[in-house]
């Protein structure tokens, strides 16, 4: 049991941290028009990561597949009771509450992406922006629950659950692991990310430079003449 075996494939690890980073980035860029383009890039990254995960749930490695998830209420109850008794029922892949997070976060994420796209496309009224914010806030609460849960289980189970999401490795019997970390799929994921962000940042630089130039022309060209309007 003391062997370190490969459990989480590389694309799954990249997905996890890309999803986390794009969600955090979208929150940080939510309130200002100065970074609206970065918010959009975070949103596209976020929805792209979710699309990848939906695919990977069917074609990914053993522990990444949706068919490996056990998240029924019975499974979660048994697992939580085992934690409370001090004899954690260890899962090599997703534990039952962790498995619950997958449909929850992916579903909320799709709702956030759809409402965000609708806001940007002016597809409806201000209520869409409200819906977008509410869905994002609900996801923030779910993420907080997820992080607290991981910390609690890491302590109760005396096992760092975060580190394997970087290294891919956990303690386990050799037969239970996965053979390949699927580096090619991870590389394609990173190429897609670069294909989104590099032109996105270049376009941002171009637009900001153009606006600075037109602002300086306006400042040099004409004194700030004020048309006399009537006094209300």
């Amino acid at each position: 049991m003391s062997n370190r075996i490969l459990v989480w494939d590389l694309p799954l690890r990249v997905f996890h941290w890309v999803l986390a980073a794009s969600f955090a980035g979208a929150f940080l860029t939510a309130e200002s028009e100065r970074v609206r383009d970065l918010h959009l890039l975070c949103g596209y990254t976020f929805v792209g990561a979710i699309a990848f995960r939906l695919l990977w749930g069917f074609v990914g490695t053993r522990h990444a597949r949706f068919s490996a998830l056990r998240f029924g209420p019975g499974a979660s109850r048994r697992y939580l009771l085992s934690l409370l008794r001090g004899r954690p029922d260890r899962h090599l892949g997703h534990n039952p509450p962790g498995a619950v997070m997958i449909p929850l976060l992916l579903g909320l994420g799709l709702a956030i992406a759809a409402s965000g796209w609708a806001v940007y496309a002016d597809a409806g009224g201000e209520w869409l922006a409200e819906a977008h914010e509410i869905a994002a806030t609900v996801m923030l609460v779910a993420v907080a629950g997820h992080v607290l849960g991981v910390m609690a289980v890491s302590v109760l189970q005396r096992e760092n659950l975060v580190l394997p999401l970087v290294t891919g490795r956990k303690r386990g019997a050799p037969g239970e692991g996965i053979r390949s970390s699927r580096p090619l799929a991870a590389l394609l994921l990173l190429i897609a990310l670069a294909g989104l962000w590099l032109p996105g940042i270049a376009a941002r630089e171009r637009r900001l430079a153009a606006s600075a130039q037109s602002a300086s022309i306006a400042a040099a060209g004409e004194p700030a003449t004020v048309r006399t309007g009537h006094m209300d």
């Binding site: 200002s32 637009r207 606006s211 009537h230 006094m231």
Partner: protein, 139 residues
């Protein structure tokens, strides 16, 4: 007694603000708020509003950066390039029709341009300018 009147007045103001549906409603609500902030409030000025709209307030952006100098014109977002519908109510009847939207965009855009919230006086001045005859198109 006095506090009761104040509470009633504040409530009435709140109701008036909540029911604001036309540019004139918003102007009245901004005027009431400006009067509360400064008893010497002497009305809004379209000229001051226009100047405010074009000023960068010591920063790099002004309202004009995205909305253009002409309130009846279609603007363009500085960083996304997205089309921005005209601000003048006469050119775009959707403007100043929804309190939640007006509050949200003044808050966000004032923070982006001035790094603070706008006062009721400033908002009223700008609105007075946007409502000026001729601001609404046909030019």
């Amino acid at each position: 007694m006095r506090s009761t009147i104040l509470v009633a007045a504040a409530f009435a103001l709140g109701v008036a603000a909540a029911r604001a549906e036309t540019p004139a409603d918003f102007e009245a609500a901004f005027a009431a708020e400006a009067r509360r902030a400064d008893p010497a409030f002497a009305g809004f000025s379209a000229a001051r509003g226009q100047q405010f709209f074009g000023s960068t307030h010591g920063g790099d952006w002004s309202c004009v950066s995205c909305h253009t100098k002409d309130p009846s014109a279609v603007g363009e977002h500085v960083v996304t390039g997205k089309r921005i519908e005209p601000l003048a109510p006469a050119a775009n009847p959707k403007r100043f029709s929804d309190p939640a939207s007006v509050e949200k965009w003044f808050k966000r855009n004032c923070n982006d341009v001035l790094k603070r919230l706008c006062t009721a006086q400033e908002k009223g001045d700008v609105l007075a300018w946007l409502m000026m005859p001729g601001a609404g198109g046909g030019r």
